[in-house]
């Protein structure tokens, strides 16, 4: 599946629910599927700090695809992190750099990405792209 196909699937999944409590329940369940970061990487180098919640993100690159593991101290944040990883993990650096993440807005979670909310999510997306750029540079 392409990045956009995965995004569209997520949008479909969330569009079943009108009620926010149901959306959050789904988000909590999705958070449970998150490929959890190895505790040894749960250190400052891999921490993306926001003033509301923390996110740890670790990339690995096999020369072809980048995969991510992560975690957060807040469950809703963890759910969104899991969604981002669903969309961007196991992709080539070029795919990640070129990606346009529209699903967050479409499922109504844009509020979580406002720069002042500073829960680390906006920085997380930036960080995922930066890793992709760095791995790309290493390749060349």
């Amino acid at each position: 599946m392409t990045i956009n196909e995965v995004q569209n699937n997520i949008i479909d999944e969330f569009s079943q629910f009108e009620d926010w409590m149901d959306k959050y329940s789904l988000l909590i369940d999705i958070g449970k599927e998150l490929p959890v970061i190895d505790p040894k990487f749960k250190v400052k180098d891999f921490l993306i700090e926001g003033c509301q919640s923390k996110v740890w993100l670790h990339p690995s690159y096999d020369g072809n695809l980048i995969s991510f593991t992560a975690d957060s101290d807040a469950i809703i944040t963890r759910g969104i992190v899991a969604l981002l990883i669903k969309v961007l993990s196991n992709r080539s650096p070029d795919e990640i750099i070129a990606s346009d993440l529209y699903f967050i807005d479409k499922i109504g979670l844009r509020q979580n990405l406002s720069p002042t909310r500073s829960n680390g999510l906006l920085s997380m997306i930036r960080q995922m792209k930066l890793y992709a750029l760095a791995f790309n540079a290493k390749n060349k």
């Binding site: 409590m21 329940s25 003033c51 509301q52 469950i75 809703i76 979580n112 829960n119």
Partner: protein, 405 residues
């Protein structure tokens, strides 16, 4: 006193829905909502007599200058200051404290001097002093707090010394709700000849503030936290201090005579009001203060105490809910933590139920460090809130517990 439905009808926003649910607004510590009369008064400035203050020779300029100066007089009488010249309009509490920190620092602070603050301070009453201390080589000393979230007066008395140049503390803690014993703080400082600044951002809207009675040297508060517009604040300063301090900003209207060699400054209060002030907001603030007086400050205090008691009892009965800040004397602000649940999850979920609360460190990280917590959930109430809304919050918290544990 107006009954609660009449009071709520004065605030149009309280009637709205969010996410299809009736709004429960418990973030009054961050900003309060505005009564229609305040909205009308600001609108009226722009609609019928807008002109830059203190400058023009024309009708509109005269009219808005007059309304602006009437607003200053309204503020003076509201806090019972001695003179109108002691009331400086600023952008807010932060602007007021930054101004004093700069000017007082320039005039009176040298290497090794000390400023006393408390652990309960908002960042707005920490960072400006820190910046000044860095510039001047001065040192901050901090009054500790006990487990109830009250400052320890005996430790404060020990901090006062011949090196102390100023004490700056809040009237009430924004993070925990504790009301500080400012009378004791001020009288001890004064017996050591030390001036005191009171950060009234969380105090002025919850009861009677009588400057002559508390006898502080500086008092700062924000318009938007007392039902007025954003972007306007007040700095009260005793005339003797304001006369001796240099201005904190230079510009138009604050000057007497300007040449490229030397500028002499205008008299009080204009010396501290450089540039075009936010006069429509000042006029709106005056209207807000009149509104508060029409409800009655004793009435507000009584009603808020009743809400605080009810909310404390209701929330304390929730299993796994821990309240931080257990002083007997509090503003209606309750900071709490739900065992095993991140404040962010609580806040985001309550939001979707229409309940506006704040989560995080509340711009008071040293308080959080004192209690060893990463943040809290804060419900800050005011007189237009109701017991029914507190019940909605309590039910919401039970739902949050079910979802996240």
């Amino acid at each position: 006193m107006k009954d609660i439905s009449e009071i709520r009808a004065d605030f149009p926003i309280l009637n709205r829905k969010v996410y299809g649910k009736p709004l429960v607004y418990f973030d009054n510590g961050a900003t309060t909502q505005k009564p229609q009369c305040v909205l009308d008064s600001v609108n009226e400035v722009y609609e019928s007599y807008n002109g830059n203050i203190h400058r023009g020779v024309h009708f509109l300029s005269d009219m808005s200058s007059e309304a602006y100066e009437a607003a200053r007089e309204r503020v003076r009488s509201f806090i019972n200051a001695d003179k109108k010249e002691e009331i400086i309009f600023t952008s807010g509490t932060t602007g007021s404290i930054n101004g004093v920190a700069f000017s007082f620092g320039e005039r009176y602070i040298g290497h090794g001097d000390e400023i006393i603050l408390s652990t309960l301070e908002h960042h707005a009453n920490i960072v400006p002093w820190q910046m000044m201390c860095e510039r001047k080589g001065a040192v901050l000393r901090v009054i500790p707090v006990n487990d109830n979230g009250e400052i320890i007066l005996e430790d404060y008395y020990k901090l006062l010394s011949s090196k102390t140049r100023l004490v700056s503390v809040s009237q009430a803690s924004n993070a925990l709700g504790t009301i500080l014993p400012i009378k004791e703080i001020i009288s001890a400082a004064h017996s050591a000849n030390v001036p005191v600044l009171i950060d009234g951002a969380q105090g002025v809207q919850h009861g009677i503030v009588d400057i002559k009675e508390i006898d502080c040297d500086f008092y700062a508060f924000s318009g938007h936290k007392i039902y007025g517009p954003a972007g306007i604040g007040v700095l009260y300063g005793k005339e003797k201090w304001l006369t001796s301090l240099p201005p904190f900003q230079g510009g138009g209207d604050m000057v007497d005579k300007v040449t490229f060699e030397k500028t002499t400054y205008n008299e009080l209060p204009f010396k501290f009001e450089a540039g075009t002030m936010n006069y429509p907001a000042a006029i709106g603030l005056a209207r807000a203060l009149e509104y508060v007086l029409s409800i009655g400050r004793e009435n507000i205090e009584l009603r808020e105490n009743e809400l605080l008691l009810y909310a404390t009892e209701k929330l304390s009965s929730i299993n796994g809910l821990i309240i931080f800040g257990k002083s007997d004397r509090k503003i209606p602000t309750i900071s709490f933590h739900l065992k095993g649940i991140h404040p962010y999850d609580t806040g985001m979920t309550l939001d979707k139920m229409g309940i506006a609360i704040r989560t995080g460190t509340h711009c008071a990280q040293p308080v959080m460090d004192r209690f060893g917590i990463a943040g809290t959930v804060r419900a800050s109430l005011c007189f237009y809130n109701t017991k029914e809304e507190i019940d909605i919050l309590a039910d919401g918290i039970e739902k949050v517990k079910k979802m996240f544990s």
